[in-house]
């Protein structure tokens, strides 16, 4: 009785290890639920297969790639493992561009509405826990899973690479790969946030799943087509434009494309995994003058991708804030 009556419990950070905060109880339960589910197993297999496929393709080509002296990145063995392809299979980071959304959507599309359908939501909300804790627990648990999965894969790749090639990894490569992992997690987080938001919005899990997939398809397929159409319709012929104007138009359309999260992800991963990428937009000859085609240091690469990363984080936060807004004052009815 005492533990229940104690009002300080839940507000203070001084809780003992034997009495975890309800939030962590929820996170633990969510993670256990995900791991035991078939859904996660299928996703895991999917990711493992693509990872194995793209890495083995890269492995078989690695000798040629490393021997290519013209490529300024040819010394980064492990980054090359992640980005090399011979054309049959896209490299892992491109795969993740569309696997990430699937991962995020499938872990979140029924977060709230399935609980409501099963009648568990009312029960949980009748316990002394804050409402936002449930949302946050759903988000944190799925993201923890995805993060640790990706980190494990990266570490496996590094370990495997060291075993097979005998080449030691450099600190910069480690940081870049960890950065890449974090970026992927944030990207999955965006889709997770979006699908949790949709799971609150729609009462049926299938509706929210379909809507999430629809949004994803729109951004990966149709958005680019629409932007291209608009560009063709509005841009005067290239001959009539001065070079600066052409650049401005180009910039505008690139920025429009960057409203799609997948574009942000592609930009950011490319820069992180290919150190020689120095700009994500067009460069003039004047800007390029005197530049040596050499890899950029990690800090410079990070500077380039920073807008993309913060854009992704902002989009994730937006989804999450919308989910909060919908959920916090809604009537919980079974």
């Amino acid at each position: 009785m005492k533990t229940i009556m104690d009002p300080s419990e839940g507000h203070s950070a001084t809780h003992t290890a034997t009495q975890p905060h309800p939030f962590w109880v929820m996170v633990r339960k969510e993670i256990a639920g995900h791991i035991r589910s078939w859904r996660f197993l299928v996703l895991l297999l999917l990711i493992l297969l693509t990872f194995w496929g793209s890495i083995s393709v890269a492995m078989s080509n690695i000798r040629e790639v490393l021997g290519n002296v013209k490529d300024p990145d040819h010394l980064f063995l492990y980054l090359k493992l992640l980005t090399t392809t011979e054309g049959t299979l896209p490299p892992f980071h491109v795969f993740l561009n569309f696997l990430g959304p699937i991962l995020g959507i499938s872990l979140g599309f029924d977060a709230i509405n399935s609980e409501q359908q099963n009648g568990t939501l009312t029960r949980i909300m009748a316990q002394p826990v804050y409402r936002d804790n449930l949302l946050l627990a759903k988000f944190v648990s799925a993201l923890t899973l995805v993060g640790s999965l990706l980190l494990t894969l990266s570490l496996l790749m590094i370990g495997g690479g060291i075993l097979i090639t005998g080449v030691l990894i450099e600190a910069e490569e480690v940081f870049r790969i960890i950065g890449f992992t974090i970026l992927c997690t944030v990207y999955v987080g965006f889709w997770l946030g979006l699908s949790i938001f949709l799971s609150i919005l729609f009462k049926q899990a299938s509706t929210s799943a379909l809507t999430a997939i629809g949004i994803w398809l729109f951004f990966t397929v149709f958005y680019q087509i629409i932007i291209n159409l608009v560009a063709k319709a509005f841009m005067p012929g290239a001959n009539e434009l001065a070079q600066m104007e052409l650049f401005q138009y180009n910039d505008l359309f690139l920025n429009l494309l960057r409203l799609a999260p997948s574009q942000l992800f592609t930009d950011a991963t490319t820069t992180l995994l290919m150190p020689s990428v120095r700009s994500l937009g067009p460069l003039t000859m004047e800007q390029m003058a005197g530049a040596i085609p050499s890899p950029l240091p990690l800090k410079e690469s990070l500077m380039i991708v920073w807008p993309q990363v913060s854009g992704l984080i902002a989009a994730t936060t937006l989804c999450f804030a919308a989910a909060y807004y919908l959920f916090m004052r809604r009537e919980i009815r079974g």
Partner: protein, 322 residues
Amino acid sequence: MNHPIIELKRLTKRYRDFKAVNELDLTVTKGEIFGLLGPNGAGKTTTILMMMGLTEPSSGTAHICGFNATKDPISVKRLVGYMPDSVGFYDTMTALENLMYVGELNGIPREEVEERALATMELVGLYGDAIHKKTAAYSRGMKQRLGLAEVLIKDPEVIILDEPTLGIDPSGVKEFLTLIVRLSREKGLTVLLSSHHLHQVQQVCDRVGIFVKGELLAEGNIDTLSNRLFAEKSYEIEIGLVNGIDLPWKDETEMLQMETVQRVTVEDRIIGITSSADVTPDIVRFFVQKGYDVNSVHKKEYGLEEIYEKYFENNITENIDQ
């Protein structure tokens, strides 16, 4: 010990133009079993949700154990166990895991939680195999019991049960209600249960509130309710005769001259008499003296069913009038 545990003041919930609950005032004292009785859609569940802080009232306040349910729902939820009308569990987890999860959410330390969960399950009558069974394989009655166990594991002061007997078979209902009464008496729990099953409410509740279209029409124990309701109608006596009577009945005027008799209805072999006092012996004597062959005498008494029906009848006619 007579201070109110549940105190609702002018509690109102509007959904656009529709008033689900209209200026409800209700007080339940400690240790009482209160039955909220009403048809489907009367606003029972909405009222309960407002008490649990699961939905916000449009106006008015709900205080449970002294805490405002809208502003401080966490404190209320620590002390109140709520069982919704459709109990659902995480089907991939066993019953014990489900119960332990709720226990932990209530801040029961991890080393204690299993022990307490097992004790609570025994209390509600779940033993043996049932403990480690997945809840997906549970029957409705077992789920209801597990729901009660979950309400009790937090050691509440108040338990609120929304349609607790829905979907269980009659013997199960009886057992379940006896269990609730026993627990309430043993632990001094205050119980609020909602139902549209008057018989069940009649069996267990100390006090009943009749709730129709968002308004509490009457409140009190069953005697006071029937007295208040049938004050003007009082007694109805039905006399059954062996032979039918020709209409108009020749003795009707004489019958009406009797003191207290208000109305006489004749329907072939059955004569209904309404009177403001219990004059059954006089009426029987009257019939015998007139030489009628009295076959049966039936004095109507009002139970909850009549009370309930009367309210709903009025309700229905009002609807038609509108």
